[in-house]
């Protein structure tokens, strides 16, 4: 393999990885405060893209994206308050089933709302063929937007969770629900907040990746599965792990193109997931000890 091809694969891998990471972080936020894997996370990504595209017909791009994020956040809150909150004595099985049901429902509503056609936001900078030449490698500026958004998001989230009292309270809910209640924290609101937050993150991701991946009523599921794989790779609930896991999976996928027929690429990604689940269910980067400190 030439170094040029190697670098080009690497760039492709980083692109995929950043997209997956942003989805994985959405999973982590909800998992961290509730212990739920929200199988409808991918739908937030789809909604973010579709709503932004629709709004872009009427307003400037930044405003459309902002509004799309806010609308998706409202959807996230509604899902939590309409469905998750109403689960009496929720077993893991029932939570899985409900979030899967919600996911299908959102997708079907989207199908009948927007149709099955594919849409996309315009490239933020330049157009479909604009590329930046970094040494021997070609990169679309949108890739830089995705990677940048991913980085900024991770940093902001880390700051939010580490340095603000609200973030601390959300983490407290995750660490020990009873103790959080005893500290006077309204855990219900924290759960709603976590849905709002991850919906917002998903929507932003959906808008930023839309020029690259396009938006369509059913492209959330595929992203959700990749995002979940990444979340597991990095250790459920571990945002920095998700970054590492995302880049790893993205790069593996990109390089796998050179050995495995492309048609089997997804099977490779899922096989990686299974392997991790069997060997190190707490993830490649999480340690068993810290995982044990969490309640979930």
């Amino acid at each position: 393999m030439t170094s040029e091809l190697f670098l080009q694969y690497l760039v492709a891998g980083i692109t995929y990885g950043s997209i997956y990471t942003v989805v994985a972080i959405g999973f982590n936020i909800i998992y961290n405060t509730t212990g739920i894997i929200n199988f409808s996370q991918g739908e937030f990504v789809m909604l973010g893209g579709m709503v932004a595209i629709t709004l872009h017909n009427f307003m400037a791009l930044p405003l459309a994206i902002l509004l799309a994020v806010l609308i998706t956040m409202a959807v996230g809150a509604a899902i939590e308050m309409l469905f998750i909150r109403r689960l009496r004595s929720p077993s893991v099985l029932r939570m899985i089933i409900v979030t899967i049901g919600v996911s299908i429902l959102i997708r079907e509503v989207a199908l009948h709302l927007w149709g099955s056609g594919v849409r996309s936001l315009p490239y933020f900078i330049g157009n479909e063929i604009t590329t930046i030449k970094l040494g021997p490698v070609f990169v679309s500026p949108q890739v830089l937007w995705v990677v940048g958004t991913c980085l900024v998001m991770v940093v902001l989230l880390l700051l939010f969770f580490q340095a603000t009292s609200l973030g601390r309270e959300m983490r407290a809910c995750a660490a020990n629900r009873v103790a959080a209640v005893l500290c006077g924290i309204e855990t219900r609101n924290m759960v709603t907040l976590s849905f709002v937050l991850s919906a917002g993150i998903g929507a932003l991701a959906g808008a930023v990746v839309s020029p690259i991946t396009y938006s369509q009523y059913d492209n959330g599921t595929g992203l959700a599965i990749k995002g979940f794989t990444v979340a597991i790779l990095g250790g459920l609930g571990n945002s920095l792990g998700a970054v590492a896991g995302g880049l790893l999976l993205g790069v593996v996928e990109a390089f796998s193109v050179s050995v495995v027929p492309l048609a089997f690429q997804d099977a490779v990604a899922i096989a990686v997931l299974l392997l991790i689940l069997f060997v190190r269910p707490h993830g490649l980067f999480g340690s068993g000890a810290t995982a044990a400190m969490k309640e979930f």
Partner: protein, 241 residues
């Protein structure tokens, strides 16, 4: 300050507390003692809202706590240090303490730094460990952290559930010394303990629970001398029927 009348509570079909009545006045240390399974923890759970009361009332500063959800009770000034510490294991000591300040009204959040300093003074070991994850602390340190966390919101009533459980005797002595000091600082303490002697030694008054009922109550010294208390711990006379 705290007045409980005919409280009944339990889990599902299991009724643990049967018509419990008791009170705590400001500035007191009140001990609740009794064997395992006598309902002590359930009583504290009911006061702090974790366990639903089926009947009776819990009046705290003229407000009925049974009507409030658990997360609203700390803001009223009634805080529980739970059994088994329940610290936020994956968070640092300082974060744990700051979370304890959550019930403070928004305008008083500025006092957090002062309160933090106060806890560090009360529990110097916590200052040394402030950047460590709480889960890595020893049992005694975790107990102190849990107490410090509860005191962060300057509660008018601190409830402590079995602070000595699983701790070495030397550390237990330290813990009780601190509880005694809390009272000197004007705090009110409701203490649930298995270690009856240690608890009664620092308490003003005490209640003895057995199978969910208050069987004896009175000043701590009287209870210490009471032979029935000893009986409650080391075997009852045989029952006929």
């Amino acid at each position: 300050m705290l007045k409980i009348r005919n409280l009944e509570a339990g889990y599902g079909k299991l009724r643990v507390l049967r018509k419990v009545s008791m009170h705590v006045s400001a500035g007191e240390i009140v001990a609740i003692i009794g064997a395992n399974g006598s309902g002590k923890t359930t009583l504290l759970g009911a006061i702090s809202g974790l366990v639903g009361a089926t009947s009776g009332e819990i009046r705290f500063q003229d407000e009925d706590l049974t009507l409030l959800s658990a997360s609203r009770i700390p803001a009223r000034g009634c805080v529980l240090v739970p059994e088994g510490r329940q610290v936020f294991a994956a968070m640092t000591v300082e974060e744990n303490l700051l979370l304890g300040g959550h019930p403070l009204a928004r305008e008083k959040r500025g006092e957090l730094d002062g309160l933090l300093a106060h806890q560090y003074e009360l529990f110097p070991i916590l200052r040394e460990r402030r950047k460590q994850l709480a889960g890595t602390l020893s049992g005694g340190e975790q107990q102190m952290l849990a107490m410090g966390r509860a005191l962060m919101s300057r509660p008018s009533l601190v409830m402590m559930d079995e602070p000595s459980t699983g701790l070495a005797p030397l550390i237990v002595r330290d813990i009780f010394a601190i509880i005694a000091r809390l009272r000197q600082e004007g705090n009110t303490v409701l203490l649930v303990e298995q270690n009856a002697k240690a608890a009664l030694a620092i308490a003003d008054r005490g209640y003895v629970l057995e199978t969910g009922k208050v069987i004896i109550q009175g000043p701590a010294e009287d209870l210490l001398a009471n032979r029935d208390v000893q009986r409650a711990y080391l075997g009852r006379e045989k029952l006929e029927g």
